[in-house]
């Protein structure tokens, strides 16, 4: 059985803003999944709905099965127990996610004391171990968030997420706003932790190359839907959806003559999340669109082993249509 199974997840904000439209995926224990997409694609909404952290204006339907239990229907007591101890989140922007007037030690200890039947002494010991495991010297336990650098704050966030030994970590843009070197340090830390403790991870980012570096599989979201999903290697080497292709060429490979003095972008803006359009939602911005794209509705079709794409061109009948 999969650790996490999401089936037909829909999230609507307010009356008519459909942020997530029918997202399904599953994640096995110890596996890592990267979710990519631009602002407004619904990727953070998916992440937050996995632990029911959305604001009350959001209406959610579908199933989110974590270890076989439906997160969306469980009672508040059970939900509180699941948060932190079965699945935890590393939020983006560690400065705003940490409490500025409490020491990092107190903040890491808090979930341990709340969720595990341990005394303050054991919690202190565990806090020191956690700080050590994320590469922050344990003597900094009495430091306040503003006394740490951005990279160290993000490490503290990761230590908090690990505090109750969850089976799943959801990392929402964990390295955005960090420098390249610090980003590389954080990514290698996450990769090591996942490998050593057999934790599953869902990582969210707009940078496909970052996700490909750390995750086994990738899902690309556009306008509230997954438009392509597959192993990281395949998705980067031969994307089957034009949007995946655009995202992966946005961050150039140094040394690649094709991108030298030729930045690659994607004109236009994503569709209004209030509209229900016919045909492929990516069609207005798609550099490879053809006539049927504006009328033929799309869904995730098989596109190779362990691979699905919501582009008409993966269907045998349309394979050559744009040529």
């Amino acid at each position: 059985m999969s650790l996490l199974e999401v089936h037909d997840l829909n999230v609507t904000y307010g009356v008519d803003v459909q942020a997530v439209r029918g997202v399904s995926f599953s994640l096995d224990a110890g596996q890592t999944l990267g979710v990519a997409g631009e602002s407004g694609s619904g990727k953070s909404t998916v992440a937050l709905s996995l632990l029911r952290l959305l604001p009350s204006s959001a209406r959610i339907s579908g199933d989110v099965l974590l270890g076989g239990e439906d997160v969306l229907t469980m009672g508040w007591g059970r939900l509180r127990a699941v948060r932190w101890s079965e699945a935890s989140i590393v939020f983006q922007g560690a400065m705003s996610a940490l409490n500025p007037v409490r020491t990092i030690g107190e903040q890491i200890r808090e979930p341990i004391l709340l969720h595990e039947k341990v005394g303050i002494r054991a919690a202190r010991e565990r806090t020191a171990e956690l700080l050590d495991s994320v590469g922050v010297p344990a003597r900094r336990v009495g430091a306040y968030p503003h006394e740490l650098s951005g990279g160290q704050r993000q490490r503290v966030m990761i230590a908090m997420a690990l505090a109750c030994r969850p089976a799943l970590i959801i990392a929402d843009e964990p390295t955005t706003a960090l420098d390249v070197i610090v980003q590389a340090q954080i990514l290698s830390l996450l990769a090591d932790l996942v490998r050593e403790s057999h934790i599953s991870m869902i990582m969210i980012s707009h940078d496909l190359s970052v996700l490909a570096e750390t995750c086994d599989r990738l899902a690309v979201m556009y306008a509230g839907r997954i438009v392509e999903i597959g192993t990281s290697r395949q998705m980067i080497a031969e994307p089957r959806h034009p949007y995946t292709r655009a995202l992966s060429s946005a961050f150039p490979t140094i040394g690649d003559p094709a991108s030298r003095l030729a930045p690659s972008g994607l004109p236009g803006d994503p569709p209004d999340p209030r509209l229900v359009a016919s045909g492929c939602p990516f069609e207005p911005r798609c550099p490879e669109a053809f006539a049927e794209c504006s009328t033929h509705s799309v869904e995730l079709w098989p596109a190779g082993t362990g691979r699905e794409s919501a582009c008409l061109k993966v269907l045998p009948g349309f394979a050559k249509a744009s040529a």
Binding site: V180, H206, F251, P252, I254, S259, P263, G265, L266, P267
Partner: protein, 334 residues
């Protein structure tokens, strides 16, 4: 030869001591030129002094020593001289959401510069023209909108239009795409390239992103703790990096096959610049030297000269195989 559009000569910016710490040497001796019609990328980590250097180059910070030159003329710091200079050199900041006034519509945001400079005649044409050049077409559709009604990419275009409205010859862009989505990033970078093509604009683009340099720059300068440690053409520096710091930056880029060099620690503190080579406490090549290697004393003991602006250079004692003379000198030190 025409003089460079913008130039830093032995520039130093030192911030006064605070809370028991020494003075912060944010920019500690920099020579840098941006030629006419040239795009130069200034690359470095947070805290390396790159934003301070950018601000000094547009006259927002008065350097402690050295000078800024615009088309060969030394910048004066009287308010009249600064005002004149700022028409020609415009700063584009990161995070357009923060740079735009939420209560000001697009027209007023773009017209603010021309109004301050007393360019009142033909103002609507000037604003429309700047918007169109920044890729907001047709301009009539945008002038009455407010920042919250625009996407991140459109907001950044408004900020760029505000800079273009004064017909500058140089723009200094501080992390122009850091807060933008992957898909928008390329669009804004292409705009900077197009402006160079159509208006002959020179640009200094400050970033921590080496891919950006590969995408748009002619030359690149890598900054570490207040100094340029390596500079040259993009091809030279990014494909054949000589400085261990540049090599480490390139090795950690996602998608590179090379073994990553994970530097330990974070950028050190400009209030306590290490002696000798300022990079040696984090340097992978220094760490790999034998304890008996006499070059260690060079790295820890001898300061490196400030690089010249007009030719490629590397500030590293170990970048090239040491010459016989260097060997002898280093044994003299020990």
């Amino acid at each position: 030869m025409t003089s460079p559009a913008l130039e830093a000569r032995d520039l130093e910016v030192t911030f006064p001591p605070r809370r028991g710490r020494g003075p912060a040497r944010a920019v500690d001796g920099v020579n840098l030129t941006v030629g006419a019609g040239e795009i130069v990328a200034l690359i470095g980590e947070s805290g390396c002094g790159k934003s301070t250097l950018a601000r000094a180059l547009v006259g927002l910070i008065r350097p402690t020593a050295g000078e800024v030159r615009y088309q060969g003329t030394t910048l004066g710091y009287s308010s009249k001289a600064l005002k004149q200079f700022r028409r020609h050199t415009q700063l584009v900041l990161q995070d357009p959401g923060g740079a735009l006034n939420p209560k000001q519509n697009v027209f007023d945001a773009v017209a603010e510069g021309p109004r301050l400079h007393g360019l009142r005649s033909g103002l609507p044409e000037r604003v429309h023209d700047a918007l169109a050049r920044a890729g907001l077409r047709p301009p009539e559709q945008f002038v009455n909108r407010y920042p919250h009604e625009l996407s991140g990419g459109q907001q950044q275009r408004v900020v760029i239009a505000g800079a273009l409205a004064l017909d500058p010859s140089v723009i200094v862009a501080d992390e122009p795409v850091a807060s933008l989505d992957a898909s928008v990033r390329g669009e804004i970078l292409r705009l900077i390239l197009d402006l160079r093509g159509s208006l002959g604009l020179s640009a200094l683009v400050v970033s921590h992103d080496l891919g950006l340099a590969w995408n748009i720059a002619d030359r690149v300068a890598v900054m570490y703790l207040g100094r340029i440690v390596e500079q040259g053409t993009v091809e030279e520096v990014l494909l054949r990096p000589k400085h261990p710091y540049t090599q480490a930056l390139i090795s950690v880029l996602p998608g590179t096959d090379a073994e990553s060099v994970l530097l330990r620690g974070e950028p050190p503190d400009p209030t306590a610049v290490p002696g000798g080579c300022r990079f040696h406490p984090r340097c992978q090549r220094f760490a790999a030297l034998d304890a008996s290697d006499d070059r260690r004393t060079l790295c820890t003991g001898r300061d490196l000269p400030v690089l010249d602006a007009d030719r490629p250079g590397v500030a590293c004692h170990l970048a090239d195989a040491p010459t016989h003379e260097e060997r002898r000198e280093s044994s003299d030190i020990s």
